[in-house]
Amino acid sequence: MTSPLSRLDLNLVTLILGAAILWFVPVGMKSYGIYVISFWLVMSIAAMGLNLTLGYAGLKSLAQAAFLGIGAYATALITAKGGVLGPVWSWPLAFVVSGALTFAAGVVLGFPALRVKFHYLAFVTLAFATVMFLIFRNEQWLTGGVYGFPNIPRPTLFGVKLNNDLAFFRFLLMVTLVLSLAMWWLLRSPWGRAFMALRENPLRAASLGVNLRTYTLLAFAIGAGYGGFAGALYAPMVEFIDPAPFAISASFVLLLTVVVGGQGYFLGPFLGAAFSYVLPEVLRVTGGYYLLVYAALVLALLLVSPQGLIGIVEQIRELRRQKTAQAMRDASKVMLEAGR
């Protein structure tokens, strides 16, 4: 039997081993391949935030791509044209500002919505995501509108500008690892347990002294903050941003990513992001049909396992557990009959 604690530790081991392997994976890859895995990491961070909101706290947010956009545009504005703090300190500032802005947006959005009814957060975030997309598109003086925001510089680390794709990927990997560890710690802390208590049974959690509103608000705001962090990494990764990847449909895809990966599982977002952002790149070989194939795969997967990809692993485990139990029952039956 696995207790929740040992499962989390397994998560930690997977995380560190995974990071160590990924450090060497892109060696010798072409820049397109490195781009695909970098993209996967960035979207994993955004999905990790949404997984906290959705999978652990049970709140439906339809604005994760908008938070990603806020982070990306804030980073672009702070770091472009030499940067407000020069080439070295601009990106760290942008990273912090992106997280803080989106966290604050989460609080401002969540506070009135959660006051009324929990599932209204979905509608309020839907409205917010639409408004943000229109701002990204229409306020050309600030964001460049549909023409995009060009020349976003890569960050500089220890005096080295990370223009090399491999160097930037490794930097991205380290940031992802730090953010994942922070999330792992958060979920094991009393806070994380309070989030889960909220999802499982809000009334009981409240009667045990968990402040419902504060904790749901925090879960949503931290989830939004991860979206902002992901945006701060996305902008220098692609070096050019336009409004399209932050549209409402992109928020839907992120939600889909979390559910497909396995909501409420720590490693779910990484699996989900691989499914939603790497698989379509692989499926490009099918020509124009890749979205069609992708959607069909999602449908098939959810029909087989509504708990997502990790759900399949759990199902296999459960099956094996039942088999062992059955074998033990059979064995004991034989023994009992022999004894009679």
């Binding site: 959705l54 439906k60 009135p112 919505a113 009324v116 009814k117 209204y120 509608f123 309020v124 839907l126 409205a127 639409t130 408004v131 229109l134 598109r137 229409n138 009334l203 409402i248 449909s249 839907f252 939600l255 889909l256 559910v259 497909v260 909501q263 124009g288 049909y289 979205l291 069609l292 992708y294 959607a295 069909a296 999602v298 449908l299 959810l302 029909l303 509504p306 708990q307």
Partner: protein
């Protein structure tokens, strides 16, 4: 003033399309807690099916309309319930909602790859033309859309409230277990709501496509609008969805003319948030008692 009148009529015409979609959305939600993110694509597809039947099977238009309607009812009325909603519903509302999201991508891409990426002409039953009323030029098509939709909705309302089957359907929506005890075939009633939903989508599709042309991406706007209309109207009432549809259609059209065309898509949503904050049960919705 005459411009205002024109905008109001155009708003009511698009609003009636939204209302048709929102009513189907609400019905399906009521009887089986399905949040159908593919509702917009449900309205997009029937027109495409008709055009595909004409193009590939060389059918005359009336036959194509019949075939498309039948195929759509079978696939997205019966098939949608039997093969997607039934197996997934017991795992909760969210996986099913996500599955309908995937279905919407599938339908959209299917229409694009299987038929055409270009907007196509769709034959109109009503002649192009306009009448002048109080100095305003009113398009005949808008009047026809509004008229047909209103007749359909009134018929549906009469069916639901005045016939035995309609009342059994209502009972199923309100309390399925008690309805079962009273001997109502709830399964059949739920299937009926899915068929009605598909039927309303077909009707909306045939009404809107002559105006906006048949295109694979039409569902995005209609789906969001129907979703908003259902929430604004109260989510649990056909009457609410009807009013919600008209409100969203009107607000959308008037906002484009008088507020800002760049931000027109945001105005109905802001309205939605205001409704949520000040009247959470919707404009016509009833307060739901919380059960512990």
């Amino acid at each position: 003033m005459d411009q205002f009148l024109q905008l109001v009529l155009a708003g009511l015409a698009t609003g009636s399309i939204y209302a048709l979609a929102a009513i189907g959305f609400t019905l399906v939600w009521q009887t089986s807690q399905t949040i159908n993110f593919a509702q917009g694509e449900f309205v997009m597809l029937p027109a495409i099916l008709v055009l595909a039947a004409v193009k590939f099977l060389h059918l005359p238009l009336p036959a194509a309309v019949l075939l498309a309607t039948g195929a759509f009812l079978l696939l997205f009325g019966f098939g949608f319930k039997r093969f997607l909603v039934d197996p997934m519903l017991r795992h909760g509302v969210l996986p099913l909602a996500i599955a309908t999201m995937a279905l919407s991508i599938l339908m959209k891409e299917g229409a694009k790859d299987g038929f055409s990426a270009e907007a196509q002409q769709f034959p109109s039953l009503v002649p192009d033309g306009a009448v002048t009323l109080l100095g305003a030029t009113l398009s005949l098509r808008d009047i026809a859309i509004f008229g047909v939709a209103v007749v359909a909705i009134v018929a549906l309302q009469l069916f639901v409230t005045r016939t035995r089957t309609g009342r059994m359907m209502q009972a199923t929506a309100q309390n399925p277990s008690v309805a079962t005890i009273l001997g109502i075939p709830t399964e059949r009633m739920i299937l009926l709501t899915f068929l009605i939903n598909a039927g309303l989508a077909v009707l909306a599709s045939f009404l809107i496509s002559p105006v906006y042309l048949a295109k694979f991406s039409n569902g995005e706007v209609i789906g969001t609008a129907a979703f908003i209309a259902a929430i604004v109207g109260g989510f649990n009432q056909v009457r609410g969805a009807l009013v919600g549809g008209f409100v969203v259609g009107l607000v959308d059209n008037l906002a484009a003319a008088y507020v800002s065309s760049a931000y027109r898509a945001a105005v109905p949503l802001v309205l939605l948030v205001l409704v949520i904050l000040f009247k959470p049960e919707g404009l016509l919705g009833r307060k739901e008692e919380r059960t512990v």
